[in-house]
Symmetry: C2
Subunit: 223 residues, 2 copies
């Protein structure tokens, strides 16, 4: 009845859709993300399509139906609220909260999630800066820019750090670049695509893998 893994699939399809809004979501990408074989993903797609939660055409990838997206948003909401909770209330390091939230998100009664939200005073984002959908599935999408694309000389605030790049969270924490931190790009290297930033009185040189995994919010002030 409940369908434990179904929601995981839906949430992962949702996230993949967000990362790449143009293409449909491929069987392989979902299988990779979930750590299962493509055959397993295909089997699940058939069940989800049968229940009208996704659109699925053979060899053609999948997309969420409105109903499926509702469910997916609910999972994402629980996931990100739990992350906030783990970080803010239980003081668990932000490198670990994603994995723990994955484990916990299905078992939480709605009332528990709602109470957590109230206790946290209705946070807008998870600890990594991703927005938390509200009860109705609405989420605010602020205007963010990839650090990779930021022009030199503008002071900005770190808004979001990709939580799924291995080792990045630890690195970002060491550099003092957690969401909320202020920084300014002082130089860009057009050959190797490194960017040089100033933050908290220190200078760092970031490679492309880092600068394309951090989103910033313009503050309107120049450094």
């Amino acid at each position: 009845m409940s369908g434990l893994a179904r929601e995981d699939y839906l949430a992962d399809i949702y996230r993949l859709q967000c990362e790449n809004p143009h293409d449909p979501v491929s069987t392989g990408s979902v299988a990779d993300r979930r750590g299962v074989t493509a055959a397993s993903a295909t089997a699940m797609f058939k069940r989800l399509a049968r229940d009208h939660l996704i659109l699925y055409r053979n060899y053609g990838g999948v997309s969420l139906t409105p109903e499926g997206e509702d469910l997916a948003l609910g999972v994402v909401r629980r996931h990100r609220l739990v992350e906030r909770f783990l970080a803010d209330v239980l003081h668990i390091p932000w490198q670990q909260v994603d994995a723990y939230a994955d484990q916990m998100e299905h078992a939480l009664p709605d009332e528990v999630v709602d109470r957590m939200e109230a206790l946290l005073e209705n946070p807008y984002t998870c600890p990594h800066g991703y927005p938390i959908p509200d009860k109705h599935g609405h989420l605010s999408q602020p205007d963010l820019v990839l650090l990779r694309d930021l022009p030199v000389g503008e002071q900005v605030r770190v808004a979001r750090v990709n939580e799924r790049v291995p080792g990045l969270l630890r690195y970002v924490e060491d550099l003092g670049l957690m969401p909320g931190s202020l920084l300014e790009v002082s130089a860009r290297n057009p050959v190797d695509l490194n960017v040089t930033i100033e933050t908290g009185g220190r200078t760092h040189i970031l490679g492309l893998r880092v600068s394309e995994s951090i989103w910033v919010e313009r503050t309107g002030s120049r450094g």
Copy 2:
């Protein structure tokens, strides 16, 4: 690999064993508690026995092996800590925390449970008064007496309320008999087995179903 329902069965076997330490635990009692058919319980017993978590003889009931008891105690620990957490931190009414904890207890990583325990400052009991096993499975068993068996005239403290008697928690709360409350038995009716108690300046008459579901702790003082 993980085995979701297995732990539920083990914990229920453990609880039934505690309630009735002499007899082995019957198939039917486990099936009833879990809300499944006896056939399902039998099937699970075979799997648990195969994995050396219980001892099982056809038509002869089951008992936990040391290994199975370890696992069961871990589940009970998680369950009761989560109950405390839901009640004390999220302020969820104590009538509901048992059901919610049932739903949550399997999905919680050990570190999350440990942090909850620290946040709660290592509580001894769940909100209903049942002891919380420590990390190594040890639990303190204080000297408790059923209210049913308490002599007249002794002042005692409520220690434990059976959380699985329908409606009892609500009733006990209305009467002000939550764990920690002081009371004294002022009269016993030997015919209908009612007991009359004084608590918080009020008098109540409790039937057998209530008095055999509340444990008290002697305080050594007379009322």
